[in-house]
């Protein structure tokens, strides 16, 4: 291996106003290696990488690429120096085609025409090489997230990246997709390229990286050879204390049916059937997990049950009563009937980020008489209620009047969970409860869900994290292409479920 590091960061320091996001960071990434970076939410990982990519500017410090000092003033410089980055939140133009997105910035001339053919050719080449098949004329917003990520990778590769930074790439991927990604990363490494991988998932770190660095509160606290460390050690370095990595739970004691979905069909805005004649039941005191590759209808199913999306046919019955009002399902009415819903997307749906924390802790329950005095809000009651939840869920900072945007992702998730769980619902719908949340918070959330089950609530869990489904669920339903293709045994192994998720289990089941 070449002894000059591909990337060397010396004394990088960065503040966002009062927040000291990166403190005097030193990092050296060996050429041709896969270097992992882990850390809790808000530890400063994305910031550090964005500085390397020229998206942010460091307040001080030095960047060496291939041993040469480089002033990275903008992303153009970084791209020229062979650095490519796949951002945590994709940087794609959603109504553009794949081709246009890849071309952007490297159009190869004032007119698009010439560049287009060149890009098309090069894309085919790259696709073949890495098995990254994406239709170049597909529109981004119509692609599932997994494919969108491929486009981001294609962009970086097309620009000739020698160093590829991936910021939490597997958060949106299925196990199979993640496997494919890792294979590709290995292939890149074999070609002598360098990969920097940010992730919260220790398993991934152990499986694929050569070296791993741990960040905590803006500081680089340790760098280890992967072979010489353990998950437990990394977890401890990350959060500064010991953590449990498995969910402890006893046998389920299912009671009567609480939620029953009958022949539900849901179409999306374009009239495509997303959920196709699905029926199942959830009993009190059990967690039913819906596994599936993202984009197979789980999200739509959840939203239809929650009354956010209109079902085109079928029925939803709670405690023996149909829940629609004149054919329409209304989220407000459902809440009154004891249905709580932790949505998949807390930023866009579960929270209003510019509201104070206490305001978000009544979102959806604003018509509960408990929070009202006539038409007026009972501010005292609302704040008192919020403080109780903050204490119970250890939401930090413990300030109900702080803007919700100023909480980290994990704490925001806890705000949603606290709100929904503390309603003492008969039935809880949970979507991606731990997406992008750090280990400490995951542990807490999982425990809370299990104890809720033990209190006899019915829980429907949708998650693309197969691990999560497997460790939490009492029963697992696998969704593929809008239908439920099977119900594997509770202790079925990962491979069996994975096959079903890929639609292969269907023939076996029939």
């Amino acid at each position: 291996m070449d002894p000059t590091p591909a990337i060397e960061l010396v004394g990088i320091d960065k503040r966002f106003g009062a927040v000291h996001a990166n403190k005097n960071i030193h990092l050296s990434v060996a050429k041709g290696s896969i270097h992992g970076i882990i850390g809790e939410n808000g530890a400063g990982k994305s910031t550090l990488m964005s500085i390397l990519y020229g998206f942010y500017h460091a307040d001080s410090g030095q960047i060496l690429v291939d041993g040469k000092d480089l002033k990275i003033t903008d992303s153009q410089t970084a791209i020229r120096a062979g650095i490519g980055m796949v951002h945590q939140h994709f940087m794609l133009v959603e109504n553009f085609s794949v081709l246009e997105n890849v071309m952007l910035g490297v159009e190869g001339g004032v007119l698009l025409k010439g560049g287009e053919t060149a890009v098309r050719g090069a894309l085919q080449q790259i696709e073949r090489e890495y098995g990254l098949d994406v239709d170049p004329d597909a529109i981004i917003e119509e692609l599932p997230v997994g494919k969108q990520q491929r486009v981001e990778i294609l962009k970086a590769l097309y620009r000739g990246a020698e160093v590829l930074i991936l910021d939490e790439p597997t958060g949106v991927l299925t196990p199979a997709e993640a496997d494919h990604l890792f294979k590709m990363l290995a292939q890149l490494k074999a070609q002598g390229k360098t990969v920097i991988l940010i992730t919260h998932k220790l398993r991934e770190i152990m499986a694929i990286t050569d070296t791993v660095s741990v960040m905590r509160r803006g500081e680089m606290v340790a760098t280890r050879k992967t072979a010489e460390t353990t998950m437990a050690e990394l977890a401890e370095l990350m959060v500064g204390r010991r953590v449990l990595l498995r969910v402890e739970k006893g046998e389920a004691k299912p009671g009567p049916v609480v939620l029953s979905v009958e022949n539900l069909t849901v179409k999306d805005g374009r009239g495509v059937t997303m959920v196709d004649n699905v029926s199942f039941e959830v009993r009190a005191g059990e967690i039913v997990g819906i596994a599936g590759v993202a984009g197979n209808g789980q999200s739509e199913l959840l939203e239809a049950i929650a009354g956010i999306r209109k079902a085109s046919s079928g029925r939803i019955v709670m405690n023996g009563e149909p829940v629609d009002r004149n054919g329409r399902i209304d989220p407000a009415l459902l809440r009154k009937k004891g249905l709580a819903h932790v949505p998949e997307d807390r930023h866009h749906m579960g929270l209003v980020l510019s509201f104070e924390e206490n305001e978000n802790s009544i979102l959806g329950y604003q018509d509960d008489p408990k929070y009202l005095k006539g038409p007026f809000l009972n501010i005292d009651a609302i704040r008192k209620d919020a403080i109780e939840k903050i204490e119970k869920y250890d939401i930090r900072p413990a300030d109900p009047r702080l803007k919700t945007a100023n909480f980290s992702g994990g704490n925001q998730q806890k705000i949603v969970l606290a709100r929904e769980i503390e309603r003492d619902p008969a039935c809880l719908l949970v979507g991606q409860p731990t997406r992008g949340v750090d280990i400490g918070a995951i542990e807490f959330i999982h425990k809370r869900l299990v104890s809720l089950r033990d209190e006899g609530k019915a829980i429907l869990l949708v998650s693309v994290e197969l691990d999560e489904i497997r460790s939490l669920s009492d029963r697992i339903l696998v969704m593929f292409a809008g239908t439920i293709v099977g119900e594997p045994a509770a202790h079925a192994d990962e491979q069996e479920i994975g096959l079903m998720m890929a639609g292969i289990g269907r023939e076996a089941a029939e």
Binding site: H89, M91, V110
Partner: protein, 322 residues
């Protein structure tokens, strides 16, 4: 109504839609790049003033056009400074430009020409006057084609032809050039443009310059082609109507042409249909006819087109670090 009437109405339609076309296209460049521009009205007005002033002083329509364009660009840069560099609210900035244009044109006009904000009447030599295309007179007698060619296509001023060329040109720029690709991208997701190594600010400034140039054409048309001098408040809400046309057109160049022609047609029709008597109904109140374009616009908006989805990043300043 016979064919000759129709040609006359269409000719009026063309004349009345030209400032809308220029202005709506101007707005298209700005809004496609993610900058809302409610200040189109003011840009058009101030350009009209500059064009007329310079044409008055120099006696040259072309220098007038140049001044109009320069004014449009300068106001665009002001809008850019406020909304791109200083990340101010784009709507406030636009409203401010409208106020400034409305006040300053009259103040300066009064100081320079002493006619209450008006510029002196321009002689035809300092205006863009009608151009008769070759053979117009010869073809005129031929039925159908004749009136169409000599009554509608020929006999417009140069800016009219430019307006109709500006539409396909804008389409070409937007969908066939690198600049257009980037403009469309930056209006949807400036982050994508930034991470592709392109300066968001400079790109948006360039889009605003295009906007200013077109607004300059619009103003120039008003004061030294359609009229013979500047008159206070002569833009008379056309900037807002152009904005409406732009939304109506869903921010697409060819749609812009159609919408502006439609609005121009309604306007022309309202002029021609005044005072008509509908049997069994009596005389239609003139106010109703004059409000008709607006009423129809509302009806069209409600019934025939769906949601107009603006460029996603529109109206929000690009802020990386808060």
């Amino acid at each position: 109504m016979d064919f000759a009437d129709l040609i006359q109405i269409l000719a009026a339609t063309v004349r009345l839609s030209v400032p809308l076309i220029f202005t709506a296209l101007a707005g298209l460049y700005a809004e496609r790049s993610g900058i809302f521009d409610i200040g189109l009205e003011g840009k058009m007005l101030f350009s009209a003033f500059s064009a007329a002033s310079v044409a008055t002083v120099t006696g040259s329509a072309w220098l007038g056009l140049f001044a109009g364009i320069l004014t449009g660009v300068l106001l665009s840069l002001l809008h850019g400074f406020a909304s791109i560099t200083q990340r101010g609210n784009q709507i406030i900035s636009g409203v401010a430009i409208n106020f400034i244009a409305s006040g300053l044109t009259i103040l300066l006009g009064n100081a320079w020409f002493g006619q209450g904000g008006r510029t002196p009447q321009l002689p035809n030599t300092a205006r863009f006057t009608e151009i008769t295309l070759p053979f117009a007179a010869d073809i005129a007698p031929i039925p159908f084609i004749g009136p169409l060619y000599s009554g509608l296509i020929s006999g417009q001023n140069i800016l009219v032809y430019l307006a109709f060329l500006a539409v396909p040109f804008t389409w070409w720029v937007l969908y066939r050039t690198r600049f257009g690709l980037r403009v469309r991208a930056v209006g949807e997701n400036p982050g994508a443009v930034d991470t592709a190594g392109i300066s968001v600010a400079w790109l948006r400034y360039r889009a605003l310059i295009c906007c200013g140039i077109l607004a300059g054409f619009a103003g120039t048309y008003l004061s030294i082609a359609q009229s013979a001098g500047f008159i206070r408040e002569m833009s008379a809400g056309k900037g807002y109507i152009a904005l409406a046309a732009l939304v109506f057109a869903k921010w697409k160049p060819l749609n812009v042409l159609l919408t502006c022609l439609l609005f121009g047609f309604l306007d022309a029709a309202s002029i021609r249909l005044q005072g008509i008597i509908i049997p069994g109904f009596g005389e239609v109140p003139v106010q109703l006819i004059q409000a008709l374009p607006y009423i129809l616009t509302v009806i069209l908006l409600a019934g025939f087109i769906g949601k107009a989805i603006p460029p996603k990043a529109g109206g929000v300043p690009y802020v990386k670090e808060r």
